[in-house]
Structure formats: C-alpha cells, structure tokens
C-alpha cells in the first residue's frame, strides 16, 4: 500500500459515489454535481497512474498529467452547458426536473431513468 495505490482506490470509491449520486438524485443540478464527482474520480485515477509512472527524475508521467488538464477543462465546459440548459428550463417556468410533463408512452421502466 503506497500513495498512488491508495489514491487509486479513493478514485474508485469516488466514481462509485458519483454514479450513485447521478442516478438517485432527482434534481438536475445534483446530477451535474454527481457527474463532476465521477469526472474527478476518473482524473484522480489517471493522476495515480501518472504518479506510478514517475521516472527519469520527473515527479510523474507528463503525458497523463497533460491529458488531465485537457480533461478538467472539457468537464468544466460540459458543466457550463448543462447549467445553461438548466437555467433556461428554469426561466421558462417549467418544473426543473427531468420527468417530462407528458411522458411519452413509457416503455419498460429501466433503472437509470435519469
């Protein structure tokens, strides 16, 4: 048990928390937070893998660290778009939930009914 492995397991747990939060929370804003937690869990796993790849005097493998920076900015853009959609839904006065008022003919109810 060393640092990177510990943070790798922490990342696994974070992905689990985020997935649970994404599926269970009814409010869309909570689902966006759940998605962000999954994202940070994935990035933490990538960071732990980068740390394991430390060599040649570098603290960690630079390739995953660069991809992490790109990933964090992409995750932020996704959150910004989701929040903008949510605020537009709120401005329209519509009930801010994902269950549409006139649900189309519901097929079999499957678990991740977002």
């Amino acid at each position: 048990m060393n640092g990177p492995t510990l943070f790798g397991l922490c990342a696994a747990a974070l992905v689990g928390f985020g997935l649970y939060g994404l599926i269970v929370n009814p409010q869309p804003l909570r689902k966006i937070i759940g998605f962000n937690i999954i994202g940070s869990g994935v990035f933490l796993l990538f960071g732990a893998i980068a740390r394991r790849g430390a060599a040649v005097g570098m603290g960690g493998d630079p390739v995953p660290q660069a991809l992490l920076i790109t990933g964090i900015v992409v995750a932020f853009s996704a959150t910004a778009l989701a929040v903008a959609l949510l605020l537009r839904l709120f401005d329209e006065g519509g009930l801010v939930t994902l269950a549409s008022e006139a649900p189309p003919t519901k097929t079999t109810a499957d678990p991740p009914d977002a």
Partner: protein, 510 residues
C-alpha cells in the same frame, strides 16, 4: 515492432488529407462564427463542398495505395504522439457522412436562411455552425488513432449535437436536450474511465499498439465493459434509449436528420473500432451475444412502440431506436466467424452497409417529415390525406427510404440483411436471422401505414399551407435514392471496407 505495426506508423501519401478532413470543417465553423449573419451560411456551404472533395480524395488515395492512409501529427511517433489513420471502414463512413451532410445542407438552405431584414438571427447562425462542428467531430471519430483524441472527439460531437435538439427553444425540447446531455456525458466519462485503465495497464493510447499489447486480464475486461457501456449510452441502445425519441422528434427537421442519421453513427463506429481492433483478443462470443440480445430487444420494442405513435416524427424516432438494434447484430456474427477461424469480413461488411443505408434513409425520412409538417401544418399520422398530391417526390422518397429500412431488394438494407443472414446461417446462430426478418415485417407495417395514408385523396378544396421549394424535395429524393440503390455495391470489384484492415486478417483465433 512487428511488420504490420511499422506499416501503420508511417505517414502515407494521402495523409495530409486526413488533417484537412478534420480541420476544414472546424476552420469553417470558426470563420463563420466571426462573420456571423447571412454569410455564415455561405461559408458553411463552401466548406460543405470542400469537405466533400476531401472525402472523395481520401477514398481515391485509399483505393490507389491499397493500404490504410496514415498521418503522424507533428512527426512524433505514436506512443508519444498522435497518429491519424483511415482504413476501409473509416473511408466508407467519411464518404457517407459527407454525402448526407451535403444533402442536409441543400435541404436546410430554405429552413435556416437568415431573414432579409435581420442582420443576424439566432437559429440560422447556430445551425450552420453546429452542422460544421458535427461534421468535423465525426471525421475525427473516424480517422483518429488515439483513444484520448477519440474522447475529445466524442465530447465535441456531444456539444455540437445537444444544442441542435433545443434549437427552437420550446420548454419540452430544452428538457430533452438536458436529459440527452446527461446521458451523453455519463457515456463519455465511462469511456474515458476505460481508456484510463488501458493506459494504466499497457502504457499507450494508440490503437494498433494497444491491439498488440492487450491480453485477456481484469484490466482489459473492465476497460471493455466500461467503454462499451459508455458508448451504448451515447448510441441509445435499448435499455439506455429513453433520451432519443423526445430529443430527435423535438429538433427541427434538418437537425433531426443530422442527429438520427449521423451523430449516433459516431459512437457506434467507435464501439465497432474498439470491438474489432483494440479488444480483438479479449472479446468472447457470449459477450457479443449479450450485445446482440440488447439489439434484438431494441428492434422489437422500438418497432412495437413506433406502431403506436400518433405523430410522424416520434414514429421515425422510435424507428431509429429499432434500427440501432440492427447495427449491433453484427457483433456476435463477426465474433462467431472469428472463433470459427473464418474471415469476419462478411459480417463487418453487412454491419457497415446497414449503417450506411440507415444513415441515408433516416436522414431522408426526417427531412420528408419536415416537408410534410410545413405543408400540412401538423404531422399527425392519422390524417395525412392529400400529401402525395402536394409532395409527390417527397412521398416517393419516404417510400424508397422505408423500403431500404425494411430490406426490399435492391436496397442497401436488403444487401446488408442478406449478408448478415447468410453469416448467421454459416455460424449456426439462426435466431439473429429470425429477429431480422421479424423486425423487417414490423418496419414494413408502419411504413405502409404512412405511405398509404399519404396516397389518400385530399379533402375537396384543401390546398397546402405553404408550397415547398422543389430543391428541398430533390435533396430528400436524392438521399433516399442513395439508400435505395446501395444494393449496387455488390457489383463493385474491390472490397472497399476491408482495405487496410490487416488487424482483423491476422487475428485468426485457434
């Protein structure tokens, strides 16, 4: 490095065209964004023409060289740098997307032209920018050889497709756009999780290098399961399809054509690329059969629900859910061939033909539905009387597209089903053939219902609300004909889709 790998890693003649295929649409989008207003449309149409020429040039380069077109970006060799590769599958999809997007571009000139008085209107500008963005990201999905670049391509595709859904701003479309975005983001984050595990286990993200290193072990199984699950969420396969119908039906006609015809093909193509190229040694027949079982369920549920729809656009959207099921039937057939030691090219060709014929047919159908809506003022399936007299070419196009979806000869759908069914017989998995035939029957029911209703004579003294320009009907008919005459592909001598696919050739399992 084994010979087949070094061949994958040298920039070939047509390589630069791949970079152009990605950057021309995005550069067009950026320039259109600056000019704004009416000339964004002109920039977009010019980019459409240029992109079509590039796609044809790439196909020509592939046909002449006889092996995959490769470009090493920045001169940095793959484990460190990123390589773009286009084999037969990519080139066929590049051509299909180019043709369909040009058809949609011609069609959309009427719906999304900037009104004369206004300096810049919201919907037209946004539509043209997003159309180019969808095209650029799809080209990137087809040609990129690096898993993380593919992740960024998936995100680009999602960010380009979601605003298309809520383009007209109604509350219901904004809600379905938000639901679509949440599903798509969950899908791409699961895909990224799989890519991270692969990097952790094998130290590279390049597809050919991974194909050589991946072995059946926990990391590979987990990565396969997560990536395929993520891509299923983005392709809306059966249990994860809830976001598709309201999203695709709510969007304007041209946008629905882009979403249903092209956007879902991107994540499907990536799932196929992973299944046959990266995880060739890890996939097992039972895994492929669970995928096909979901596909079969999608076919049955999608078609049955489509039958009960009262609105034409929702009917076509649920038909998309069903047709996606067909795309996943090829996985057990190809894996079955591979495990039996035969060449899996036939099943892969069948799947590709199915995808191409669906792309063209579904785009034509949604655009036809758009024309019906503008002519009648509504799209209730119950009373489509008089549409045939008002829009003869459009109803013909709808019928041809429907025939291709059902699989009547000589359409592309027929050839695809023919190949898949013959492979199902040779690999003794007859039940997939049964599913395909039942699906074809169900599809034929609702296509005939719609076509027969449009042929009914109009009420006395009824005249269409608005006359639709002829070039729109011509565009719809052209796409439908592309799908209908795709069966002629059997005549072309060279098996285009298998060019440069050395990977699938030499992975003959014991």
């Amino acid at each position: 490095m084994s010979p087949s790998l070094s061949a994958q890693n040298l920039t070939t003649l047509g390589g630069l065209l791949l970079v152009l295929a990605i950057l021309v649409p995005f550069a067009g989008m950026l320039i259109g964004f600056v000019f704004g207003g009416g000339n964004a449309q002109r920039v977009a149409l010019a980019t459409l023409a240029a992109g079509l020429a590039i796609a044809i040039a790439i196909a020509n380069a592939l046909a002449q060289s006889g092996k995959a077109v490769v470009y090493i970006l920045g001169g940095w060799m793959p484990p460190l740098g990123v390589a773009l590769r286009a084999d037969g599958l990519s080139v066929v999809m590049l051509l299909t997307v180019a043709v369909v997007i040009c058809g949609i571009g011609v069609y959309a000139r009427a719906d999304f032209g900037t009104p004369s008085g206004v300096k810049e209107a919201r919907a037209p500008l946004i539509f043209w920018l997003l159309l180019l963005a969808v095209w650029g990201s799809l080209n990137l999905v087809f040609v990129s050889g690096d898993l993380f670049t593919l992740y960024v391509a998936l995100e680009l595709l999602t960010f380009a497709a979601v605003p298309l859904v809520s383009l007209d701003g109604r509350t219901e479309t904004v809600r379905s756009a938000l639901r679509y975005l949440l599903y798509a983001l969950l899908g791409s984050v699961l895909y990224l999780l799989g890519a991270v595990l692969l990097y952790g286990a094998y130290g590279t993200l390049d597809i050919p290098l991974l194909a050589a290193r991946v072995r059946p072990e926990p990391a590979a199984w987990a990565a396969l399961a997560l990536m395929i699950a993520g891509l299923l969420a983005k392709t809306a396969l059966f249990p994860l399809h809830l976001w598709l119908p309201p999203a695709h039906a709510g969007a304007p006609a041209a946008a629905s054509a882009v979403l249903s015809g092209l956007v879902i093909k991107g994540s499907w193509f990536l799932a196929m690329r992973l299944w046959f190229d990266v995880f060739a040694d890890v996939v097992t027949l039972p895994a492929a059969q669970t995928l096909a079982a979901l596909g079969a369920a999608a076919i049955l549920v999608g078609n049955v629900v489509a039958l009960r729809q009262t609105r034409l656009k929702l009917l076509i959207a649920y038909s998309t859910v069903a047709q996606i099921g067909y795309l996943f039937l090829m996985f057990p057939l190809a894996t079955g061939l591979a495990t039996a030691g035969l060449d899996s090219a036939m099943a892969v060709n069948g799947g590709m033909l199915q995808a191409i014929s669906h792309a063209t047919a579904k785009a034509a159908m949604f655009m036809a539905a758009g024309l019906v809506y503008t002519t009648l003022g509504h799209d209730r399936v119950a009373d489509l009387r008089g549409v045939a007299s008002a829009l003869p070419m459009t109803v013909l196009a709808f019928a041809l597209a429907g025939a291709s979806l059902i699989g009547l000869p000589p359409s592309g759908g027929f050839l695809a089903k023919w190949l898949l069914i013959s492979v199902a017989i040779t690999t003794a998995q007859w039940w997939w053939a049964l599913v395909m035939l039942v699906g074809g029957l169900l599809t034929s029911v609702y296509v005939f219902i719609v076509v027969v209703r449009t042929l009914a004579p109009a009420h006395v003294g009824w005249n269409p609300k608005t006359t639709v320009p002829r070039y729109q009907q011509a565009a719809v008919l052209a796409l439908a004909l592309c799908s209908f005459l795709l069966g002629a592909a059997v005549l072309c001598p060279v098996d285009v889709t298998q060019i440069g696919r050395t990977v699938s050739r030499n992975t003959v399992l014991p």
